[in-house]
């Protein structure tokens, strides 16, 4: 993906707007919503690396998030390590978990739904273990103390977390952009399109896939620290339940798999739809029924995701076809 001047300017404009937004938005709630949108886009992008670009769908993405959250939180509560350092440990542990899961799964040749299911199984395994082990706090979970400060990656206002999530988001977009221009990214796409052909072409598919899942893992780990420091409480259900795994793939598929801005677009769209529906509909559950229908409609008519809409109106040809 090479940047036309127009695209580059648009991206810069978007970035500038995002940076300046808190000055213009006085509503703490809106900032909070944006923070959640950025966070979901970030973690969706981590799924996108492995699922969108490399074509390996995972249902267990939450395990990197949970492991990262526990890593930095345990380092903090048991060893006094400040989260600004702990987040790197979280990234490391997430990547390391990715290495283990990736090696075990890909080495065994698991693909498609089998791979998806084994990632689900790993997440479940970790959930049960987290529930039963002392140092994670077991079923009780871990409570973190409120102590704002950069070293704690805690902020006393939504603005601080807004910028934190923005930084994460920009990093994730940069990773995806790098992927689209790099040889590694091209290799992932080749694996996605036809793994056997890619292997025949001399691509070390095993190594590539493992690198991809390690990137996903590292990104997920940082997300876990972010969450732990913002909400100050984690337990096994929060850390390892399937809901977040589903959300990651949801925003990416709806937004557009294998694209740089897919997860962001998807996140914006789905959050907005949700908020909108809740605003007008009071009865619990009805807004979610509407949400469900919208999901089905979107994927039925826009199988390439929302980004596909922008693609069609642009006079550009080729591009990676998702």
């Amino acid at each position: 993906m090479t940047f036309s001047l127009k695209t580059a300017l648009l991206i810069l404009l978007g970035l500038l707007t995002a940076i300046l937004a808190p000055l213009g938005i006085s509503s703490k709630f809106q900032l909070d919503v944006l923070t959640l949108i950025f966070f979901t886009a970030y973690i969706g992008q981590s799924w996108n690396i492995l699922g969108g670009y490399a074509g390996q769908f995972s249902f267990g993405g939450v395990m990197f998030f949970g492991t990262g959250a526990y890593t930095s939180s345990i380092l903090l509560t048991s060893f006094g390590v400040p989260p600004i350092i702990g987040i790197f440990a979280a990234i490391f542990m997430g990547a390391f978990l990715g290495l283990i899961v990736g090696y075990l799964s890909f080495r065994s040749g698991l693909r498609g739904s089998y791979f998806a299911l084994i990632t689900l199984a790993f997440a479940e395994l970790l959930r049960v273990l987290a529930n039963s082990v002392e140092f994670t706090g077991g079923g009780v979970g871990l409570f973190l103390t409120y102590a704002p400060g950069l070293h704690n990656l805690q902020f006393n206002s939504p603005t601080g977390f807004y910028y934190f999530s923005l930084v994460l988001l920009v990093i994730s977009l940069a990773i995806a952009m790098w992927l689209e221009r790099s040889r590694f990214g091209a290799q992932l796409v080749a694996i996605r399109e036809n793994e056997d052909a890619a292997e025949a072409l001399g691509i070390d598919t095993l190594k590539c896939k493992i690198y991809a899942i390690m990137i996903m893992g590292g990104m997920g780990g940082a997300a876990g620290t972010f969450y732990a420091q913002k909400y100050l409480y984690i337990d096994p259900p929060i850390s390892y339940s399937i809901a977040l795994s589903v959300e990651m793939l949801l925003v990416t598929i709806v937004g557009g798999m294998g694209t740089v801005f897919g997860p962001l677009v998807g996140s914006f769209f789905l959050h907005t739809v949700n908020e909108f529906a809740r605003h007008f509909i009071d009865t619990p559950g009805v807004s979610l029924i509407v949400y469900g229908f919208i999901l089905i409609l979107i994927i039925s008519f826009l199988p390439n995701g929302l980004v596909g809409l922008f693609r069609r109106t642009r006079k550009k040809k080729d591009d990676n076809d998702a």
Partner: protein, 409 residues
Amino acid sequence: MTKSHKLFAGSRRQFIGRASATFALASAGLSIPHIAKAASAVKIGLIHPATGWAAYPAAQLRYGAQMAIADINAAGGIKSMGGAPVEAMLGDSQTKPEIGAAEVEKMNEAGVNAIQGCYQSAVGLAASATAAKYNIPFSVDVGVSDKLVQRDLPNVFRMADGYGRIASDASINLAEINKAAGSPAKTVAIVHEESEFGTGTAKLVTQALAKHGLTVIETIKHANPTRNFDNIALRLKAAKPDIIMPINYPGEYVLLAKTLRQQRVDFMASYSVLGGGFNFKFVEEMPQIAENMIDVNHWYDPSSASGQAMRARTESEGKYFTFEVYCAYMSILFLVDGFERAGSTDKEAVNAALASSTLNVDFMPYGPTKMVNGQNMGSRAVAIQAQKGDVQVIAPSSYASASAIFPRS
């Protein structure tokens, strides 16, 4: 409480200033000029898990709160504020702490004057901490973790018991019941669910029971959810405890009770603490299983006229009179009493008024309210028992409506 309060307020001056200015502007826009008594509504936010696995308790909590608000408005609103009506703002936490916290932000922007919630302690912790940033009065209607009131936050209050006081009440009540029957019971087996609710309560109860000469011989932790209680029933049968003590959520509570019956496990009593599934519905629909089961929980005072009236009214509207209903009602009364005595919606004044509340809640078996660090010390959990298809309060004796059938018949 005072030291951190000052620190807190000091660093929040900027935001409070900005928020007050916004609110002033907003209310200026709302108020109609040239009317002598402006009585703009006092907004109370209700944050509960309206969608998700806890949807039913959430619906009950909303119902109780809205009933209270309707009654207050019908009686003329908040008198000291010119008859200002109370208005509910509904929020859905979707069982997630982050959404609960976001709802607080949203409500704050919409000018909420107090918030009530959240059923799940994890959500309550996140939401009340967010509310603390703006000093919004926050009343926990249901949420048993004692961490809620251990953070030195001047805006957080809880009228009902937390698991610390409930564990203590449960042990006292059990000792009383046991003694009245000649102390036949010596051993207890606890079956609790794995999260903070079950684990935390179990730990405290074990400590409290020891003080009353009752030994916990077996503690069985189970998953959330659990599909099958057969093995647990067998383990209990082998351990032969005098008392079985479940601490879990409704689905598992009922399943365990049924399984114990199926496996013919023998014991003197099932004595649950915060038994999620013990309520009028359980007793009505499964009278054979429920008969003589005891629970220690939030409960209304059945001898009070207002309590009976509330129950009749709830049941006439086709709903079950679960503890969520009156706990939510009580919480609204508490908040409104704070506004009444403060005479305004000024947050510091209201929080101060709430902290010094001596409210007497007629339909609860409580003493007058006395807030210590945000926890009402006048609260009390009572022991209730299913007897012949109805529920009776059996302990403490001052509130008992019937004597305990112990050991069970």
